[in-house]
């Protein structure tokens, strides 16, 4: 397919954002697998990849079952001038995003990282390669960027080994999981990952998307991309419910969880519902010893994008108050199409302190980078 590439000359307005920001969701891509990923794969896995490709728990190897709204789900103006996929050119990322948007801290969340591959051994090898690649091509070249530790999360033992391997490496600031898992993330098969993350003093981020094989709604597969897209919020509610009700936060009291790219306005109603259910069903879940809202308040952060846009916009102030001004981490989702522009995404009057924490301080505190 030929993708029409837009002119980029006007896409970065220079120096428009005064407030320094942390962007907690940036998606880097390799320029090409052969050049950037193959060096970190053994001959066996290079050969496997060429013969079998990427086999996930969905039918199409070359693209998502729900075609995206734009090619590669990317901003039309984010294709690097020297070719390659959006997010594959550090120099252009600096020029279009990091510099003009005053990004002081950028968290890399690679999406095609081996996670969710059916073949567990391949997933393990590919995650390792992507971890090496992030350091070699990104974080060692650009100190504002930090890497996410990719783990083959359906295989807890391999995931723990990967976390232990990198523990203490300052390039990594979090362990990354995808949200569409085979089983709800609170289930015990995933507990060793949380244990290892706590041991390595790393938060666990869960990014919307992935291939768990289960329909994206409890009532089957919808027809449209917009439904899948909106449904990431519902999916995230289910995984968070699982973590709370299965007792993950009781079992791992130092665990910090970051929910990435699922919006946030749904959280207050979920907390109210879970609190009510907890009161009613305590005999079923005696291991949950505190109200779910308290556990969530203590253990869970959310990235802001895609930020909800109520009318009037001031309703969002109520929502953020119900969540807690210290629990939201600003994110743009660069270079994806549902990018939130730091200069325009929150058109509300805030105190200087709130604005600073919302866009930067909360993330510095959480990642211990203040």
């Amino acid at each position: 397919m030929n993708i029409q590439v837009a002119d980029r000359s006007t896409s970065a307005s220079k120096g428009k954002v005064k407030q320094a920001i942390a962007d907690c969701d940036i998606h880097p891509s390799p320029k090409s697998l052969e050049i950037e990923i193959y060096p970190y794969l053994s001959k066996r896995w290079r050969s496997y990849l060429e013969s079998y490709g990427f086999i996930y728990r969905q039918g199409f190897p070359n693209g998502p079952a729900f075609p995206k709204g734009q090619p590669d789900a990317a901003r039309r103006d984010a294709y690097p001038p020297n070719g390659g996929r959006p997010g594959s050119d550090l120099e252009f990322m600096r020029e279009q995003h990091l510099d003009p948007n005053n990004v002081q801290l950028g968290i890399l969340n690679p999406l095609k990282s081996g996670q969710g591959l059916q073949n567990s051994d391949f997933a393990e090898a590919y995650c390792r390669a992507v971890n090496e690649w992030q350091i070699a091509e990104w974080t060692s070249k650009e100190s504002r960027l930090k890497a996410s530790l990719m783990v083959p999360f359906e295989d807890a033992k391999a995931s723990v080994a990967e976390i232990d391997h990198w523990a203490g490496n300052p390039h990594f600031v979090q362990v990354l999981l995808l949200s569409r898992t085979i089983e709800p993330l609170g289930q015990r098969r995933y507990w060793p990952i949380y244990e290892a993350a706590c041991r390595a003093n790393l938060p666990v981020a869960v990014h919307a998307f992935g291939y768990g094989g289960t329909p994206v709604t409890g009532g089957g597969w919808p027809s449209f991309y917009i439904e899948e897209m909106v449904g990431h919020a519902e999916n995230t509610q289910s995984l968070l419910t699982s973590m709370v009700i299965e007792g993950v936060f009781e079992r791992f009291p130092t665990l910090k969880v970051i929910l990435v790219e699922a919006g946030f306005a749904w959280l207050p109603a979920l907390k109210w519902r879970l609190d009510k259910l907890w009161h009613r069903m305590r005999d079923e879940i005696p291991h949950v010893t505190r109200p779910p809202s308290e556990l969530i308040q203590e253990h869970v952060w959310l990235t802001t994008q895609p930020m909800e846009e109520p009318e009037p916009r001031e309703h969002l102030l109520d929502t953020i108050e119900w969540i807690g001004w210290d629990k939201l981490l600003f994110a743009t989702d660069y270079p994806h199409w549902d990018f939130d522009d730091p200069a325009r995404a929150l058109p509300l009057k805030l105190s200087k302190e709130r604005r600073e924490n919302f866009f930067l301080g909360n993330a510095l505190d959480l990642y211990g980078l203040r």
Partner: protein, 137 residues
């Protein structure tokens, strides 16, 4: 209101577009089959550059499952969040009465008329032989 000469007409062929700046405002000029239209180069949503948007057709429907496609390349889709705007009217496709891109009146004037004024040509020389895109602000 003043009239500004912003470009030689031949620089924006049919199907083409050009970003100009008038009194500090970035304005994108579109040429649809010989008719010229001007739009502020900022999406009313989050300020995406409409000059960088795709030109698409208009998709409408009279009932679910029916798709009517018309007006190929007369709609510009913001490169960021995909909001669509009618280049002729500036109206958004999602909520045409409430959400609109800022439009400017654009016309074509012969070089002879332009050189006599009251036009302002900021950045280039004007010759009698050519025709020019003129924007009213």
């Amino acid at each position: 209101m003043a009239k500004y000469v912003v470009s030689p007409a031949k620089d924006i062929p049919p199907g083409g577009r050009k970003l100009v700046e008038v009194r500090g405002r970035p304005i994108v000029i579109f040429n649809l089959d010989g008719e010229y239209f001007g739009m502020l180069n900022r999406c009313p949503h989050q300020g995406g550059s409409l000059c960088n948007g795709q030109l698409v057709g208009l998709v409408q429907s009279t009932e679910p499952g029916e798709y009517h496609f018309s007006r190929q390349d007369e709609i510009v889709r913001c490169p960021w969040h995909g909001w669509e705007f009618d280049i002729r009217t500036g109206h958004s496709m999602c909520e045409p009465d409430r959400i609109q891109a800022t439009r400017y009146n654009v016309g074509i004037e012969a070089g002879a008329a332009v050189t006599e004024g009251p036009y302002v040509a900021e950045t280039f020389g004007v010759t009698v032989e050519e025709s020019y895109v003129v924007i009213e602000i």
